[in-house]
């Protein structure tokens, strides 16, 4: 129980009548790389958004490092609309904003790259350090925090060296080639000093060679930063290569979980991906 970094406890996310995530429970242990896969529209990104506080779940709870960070139960209109079986399980309402969750040590990347477009590579990473800033706005404005600022800049320089972006650090983030933008987004997430890194389709739009490089890169940063990684991905090569365990979602429901070998043989997963003949 205590070595769980992340625990999602019977989480349901319902938009009106649409159940995007249905009674999802999963656990991620320290140091693991866990993948969340599923066909398009299965609710993977919604699950990420629930975990990172973008959406408030209709019902359910999320635990992070043994502490409950999110909990909600259906109220008002949703009480009637809610179709789940575990409506009475949760009572409290804990609804932190995403920045709060990031400060707890969970950082994410986005499916469609969301870099700060008018900023340089260096600044993109430096801004992510802002959430670790302790100085207030007065001391920051009047440069009373020189030490902290210098330390942050040095840390960013080091980080950029590690991820191999230090040669382009003064270029605009959007002028980078696609693969490097992806890498920069991961670097930015790392700058927030997370213990759990959530990657939403990090290899989307990459060719096989870039995907291979990314696979190696993810492995490297896990070691170097002592990370736990939770990722959504469609590139099965990448998923099967680096995942310790895999969860499979289909229509919001968890249909399988296990090691890559188990998942590859699982009939329900194969059906979900390939479809089942109507008359079978």
């Amino acid at each position: 129980m205590s070595d769980n970094v992340l625990k999602v406890d019977h989480a349901t996310m319902q938009f009106g009548g649409v159940v995007a995530v249905d009674d999802l429970s999963l656990e991620i242990n320290k140091g693991e790389i866990v993948a969340l896969i599923g066909p398009n529209g299965a609710g993977k990104t919604t699950a990420f958004n629930v975990i990172t506080g973008v959406y408030q779940p209709t019902n359910g709870a999320v635990w992070f490092n043994g502490k409950k960070i999110i909990e909600n139960s259906p109220k008002g209109k949703m009480k009637k609309e809610y179709l789940g079986s575990n409506g009475e399980m949760f009572k409290e309402c804990i609804d932190p904003t995403p920045d709060h969750i990031t400060k707890l040590g969970m950082a994410r990347t986005f499916q469609n790259i969301r870099l700060w477009k008018s900023q340089t590579v260096f600044d993109n990473v430096l801004i992510a350090k802002h959430c670790r800033t302790t100085s207030n706005v007065f001391s920051a404005t009047f440069r009373l925090n020189r030490k902290e600022e210098a330390k942050q800049r040095q840390e960013v320089d080091e980080l950029l060296k590690i991820v191999g972006l230090d040669d382009v650090k003064n270029e605009l983030a959007t002028s980078l080639p696609y693969g490097k933008q992806r890498r920069l987004e991961i670097a930015r997430a790392l700058a927030a000093e997370p213990s759990l890194l959530l990657l939403d389709e990090p290899a989307a739009g990459m060719n096989p060679q870039e995907t291979e490089e990314l696979t190696a890169f993810i492995g490297e940063i896990r070691k170097q930063f002592d990370l736990t990684i939770f990722l959504i991905e469609h590139h099965m090569n990448l998923v099967m290569d680096i995942s310790d365990r895999i969860y499979v979602l289909d229509f919001g429901k968890l249909i399988a979980q296990g090691t890559p070998e188990e998942i590859q043989k699982n009939q329900r997963v194969i059906d979900a991906y390939l479809g089942v003949a109507e008359d079978a």
Partner: protein, 368 residues
């Protein structure tokens, strides 16, 4: 010499030349000369435009409440600095008002008249800024949940309400109702305006280049990403709104100093639009742009194009065409041309030191 050092020297040089030029003008010209008036008004507008740019250009919050916050600053300045002896005349319809002290006189009695009254005036300005900031905090609670156009309309409405509120007769003992506040001490020379506004703008620049300023820019570029990277949207938006209003309040106090009288009526939405125009012409996201644009705007509207209203312009005498209102027609055309040819404003997102860089980059290209 490396580029960043060159930039620093260039910036320092430009600032020095501007300040020296202003002092020379102050010594040579009488204080009622149009050049001095223009410098005063332009510096005030520059400060307010920069404060608006902090919000609209750097944080991406489209707010149109600037005139309202200026009004607060102006009234705070006037109410706190009118000499006690003159209050009976100023507040003639309200039995001399309810406030019976004047900050310049209070501090004058402590530090001596000359130094003390300047301190009192500065403190009155500061109080105006703080009042505007407090109001921004209160307004921000409900209003900052809104986005883009909706925020603009809400803040615009607030400014109009505030204007009406200050003209309310029941508040007369403090605000003098819809009558003028006057006879308060002002700086006659242009240099104090330039120094004051320059210092305020420098503070805003420092803020923008600090970690908080970077967070503001992140919110402007992508709110979702900013929030996901641990930037508290509510807190930072509120902060930008309050700081921007603080400087708008100080700008309002300086506006009162410049104009010599205070009434609520001039602080109408047209004033906000003027400032917005300056921000857009200068370049959304460029402090230097806002300052340059405000000087261009004020110089041309108050001085160079004056002739268009009064019959003779550039030596051409055509009283039939050049009469009242023609200036604004020409002015609108000029603005349209500027907006068409400089899509991102005069400066885009560049600042003063970047002007040097562009030139050196071109040189590099030529060498190749």
């Amino acid at each position: 010499m490396d580029l960043s050092r060159k930039k620093k020297i260039f910036t320092a040089l430009v600032l020095f030349v501007v300040l020296a030029g202003c002092i020379v003008l102050d010594v040579v010209l009488p204080s009622y000369h149009i050049a001095i008036t223009v410098i005063k008004k332009a510096t005030v507008y520059a400060l307010v435009a920069v404060s608006m740019n902090l919000l609209n250009g750097f944080t991406g919050l489209f707010s149109l409440g600037q005139a309202g916050f200026m009004l607060l600053g102006a009234y705070a300045y006037g109410v706190l600095t009118i000499p006690v002896a003159k209050r009976a005349i100023v507040y003639q319809y309200f039995d001399g008002g309810v406030i019976h002290f004047s900050l310049p006189e209070v501090f004058g009695s402590i530090f001596g008249t000359a130094v003390g009254s300047v301190i009192g005036m500065l403190i009155a300005l500061l109080i105006g800024g703080i009042l505007a900031a407090l109001m921004a905090y209160l307004i921000g609670l409900p209003v900052l949940r809104l986005k883009s156009d909706y925020l603009a309309i809400a803040t615009l409405g607030f400014a109009e309400i505030l204007k009406a509120f200050f003209q309310w007769n029941k508040l007369g003992p403090v605000t003098n109702g819809s009558n003028l506040l006057k006879s308060y001490p002002v700086f006659d020379h242009a240099t104090p305006y330039v120094i004051l506004a320059g210092l305020m703008i420098a503070v805003i620049l420092l803020l923008i280049n600090s970690t908080y300023g970077r967070a503001f820019k992140a919110i402007r570029d992508d709110e979702v990403a900013a929030e996901a990277m641990g930037i508290n949207l509510a807190k930072h938006k509120r902060m930008a709104f309050i700081i921007s209003s603080f400087f708008a309040g100080i700008g309002g106090g300086m506006m009162a100093m410049y104009s010599g009288t205070i009434a609520a009526a001039p602080f109408k939405s047209a004033m906000t639009y003027e400032i917005l125009l300056i921000v857009v012409i200068g370049g959304i996201g460029s402090i230097t742009g806002s300052v340059i644009a405000s000087f261009l705007y004020i110089i041309s509207s108050e001085w160079l194009l004056r002739g268009l209203d009064s019959g003779t312009f550039l030596g051409i005498s055509a009283p039939g065409v050049f009469k009242n209102g023609f200036r604004m027609a020409v002015f609108s055309v000029i603005i349209m041309v500027i907006v068409l040819f400089f899509r991102k404003g005069i400066m885009g997102e560049r600042e003063l030191p970047d002007l040097l860089q562009k030139r050196s980059k071109k040189k590099k290209g030529a060498a190749k």
